[in-house]
Amino acid sequence: MGLEGELEAFGTRFGAPAYRQFSSGGAYPSVPLSSPLPGSTDRFGSKDEILLTLEKHGGICDCQTSRDTTMYAVSADSKGLDTVVGLLADVVLHPRLTDEEIELARMAVRFELEDLSMRPDPEPLLTEMIHEAAYRENTVGLHRFCPTENIAKIDRSVLHSYLRSYYTPDRMVLAGVGVEHERLVECARKYLLGTRPAWGSGAAVHVDGSVAQYTGGIVKLERDMSSVSLGPTPFPELTHIMIGLESCSFLEGDFLPFAVLNMMMGGGGSFSAGGPGKGMFTRLYLNVLNRHHWMYNATSYHHSYEDTGLLCIHASADPRQVREMVEIITREFVLMAGTVDVVELERAKTQLTSMLMMNLEARPVIFEDVGRQVLATRSRKLPHELCALIRDVKPEDVKRVASAMLRRKPAVAALGDLSDLPAYEHVQAALANKDGRLPRTYRLFR
């Protein structure tokens, strides 16, 4: 796509705690907002007009909602800065939210929910479940996807009420990459300063400033996974479990040791092509997938938010081997607090650094990084600063954060045939045990 001038990305990011309590809870107000984007606004009569305007500057736009932020992004030619900021301001502050658009959004949400329950990849569903288990009934534990019963209840006034409370200047950041600061500020003044948003400037409904409280717990979903394949090729029947523990927020000093720990655990699917930088020497590959060929998947994830974080491991295997699988994962967790080999740590640090630098080569990623950091900390750590901090992580740091993490109650999510799943108390005991073993149970009939 040959373009003149510089390509850049800019947009607004909101620290709208989309996951927090808002009438029926959940991130659903944001989902309809993101779906019709670009919907019609006061200045642009329809979605097509917006796209046509952007096309003149070779631009593309996107809107994404995650648990703690909503992002409206545009990538376009730098000559179109003025038009694009105006467009963004309009989309964010003056959406018309016609009944037709809301109805289309509702349909999109319904489709997304159906898709979620049908697809063979359990990842998004498991992520929801582990959050629900870890943060029982509060903040991040509330459903990100709108529950079916609530879709019909969302209308313009509900959306406006949400926007009034959460789309406020103190929760917004306008970020730009590849554009001069002064020019961006000028455009911001022109389009964002002093405008009255479409939902009026009435008093905000109580803004939920809840602190995320990690509770730990278990969420189970029994489901027949014997025929999840959508095509003619059969998919093996698997039970999926995810075990998580509270880590720390990205604002704390311990965040980087956790990130390095997460890299060190690594993992992925057992049917993986591998390759340099893939993590073939990470613990979950070396100790789990390479040794136990019946495990289909063992992957480590680290979710981190402004006031809390969650480190979890996802594993899948045949339903008859769930108990063994759980024990393997609890062993891996316990070993995190054991000795950390220096070579292993250096490899993980290098992998993290290179992943960071590779991702930051793309402007949209830089933009997201700038927006997120400024939103959370009102400042930005530059990539080389982060690399220096990563280099400073020592084996003692990893051991310390892992030991602190293991004291807390675990969060467990399980999906599929759960007849062989150990009780939550046994998982808890295994994590407190120094070799990670589940308590022995004696069974007469196997």
Partner: protein, 210 residues
């Protein structure tokens, strides 16, 4: 300005305010009792907390709480339970005369009653205590001044079935986060000791549940 709750005048006031509840609730059977130890650490009024051992089985492992535990049939009343448990867990002997009174009971998830007992334990050095390692990993004190600062106070709304149910306070930026029932009991204590200074977080329509 933090009232001098460690003074004799402060103590009399608290005892007077708690007298009614204490008389009513002392002998009433409850599932568990905890001691809220108001101590003076290097001259600064503070509350003493424990970090429950991660080796404990059960729902409260690794949690921050006040010293305390289940009521035993051999205990005379809830005050006796709180004092006994404190002695067993933390190695701190609190004479019964130092108990100021009984605070409002709280209910945990299983609807079991937990009765907080407030006692003034005087000057104390948390480092000198020898907690029982099977039950308690760490003992620490949080100054009242810290708890009363707004930036250290937070709250969390809890939902169930898609509806808002209740709000619980949370106290931040200490060595460990104080949440759940312990935070609720802390709130009751602060309301008693520093009325007007401490703004309780939004009240819930139902009794606070852990």
């Amino acid at each position: 300005m933090l009232p001098d709750c460690l003074s004799a005048e402060g103590e009399r006031r608290c005892r007077r305010l708690l007298a009614g509840a204490t008389a009513r609730l002392r002998a009433r059977p409850a599932a568990a009792a905890v001691l809220v130890p108001l101590c003076s650490v290097r001259g600064v009024p503070a509350l003493l907390y424990t970090l429950r051992s991660s080796r404990l089985a059960g729902r409260h492992k690794g949690d921050v709480s006040f010293p305390g535990g289940k009521c035993d049939p051999a205990d005379r009343d809830v005050v006796h339970t709180a004092l006994r448990e404190t002695r067993e867990e933390v190695g701190l002997v609190v004479p019964e005369e130092h108990v100021w009174g009984v605070l409002r009971p709280v209910h945990d998830q299983q609807k079991a009653t937990v009765v907080p007992v407030l006692a003034g334990v005087g000057p104390l050095d948390p480092q000198s205590l020898r907690p029982n390692p099977d039950e308690v990993d760490e003992v620490f004190a949080l100054p009242l001044a810290h708890l009363l600062q707004e930036q250290n106070q937070g709250y969390t709304h809890f939902c169930h079935g898609g509806h808002f149910r209740y709000t619980l306070p949370v106290f931040l930026h200490g060595p460990h986060r104080i949440w759940g029932l312990t935070a609720v009991i802390t709130e009751f204590t602060l309301q008693l000791l520093a009325p007007g200074i401490y703004q309780p977080c939004l009240a819930s329509p139902e009794l606070p549940r852990g």
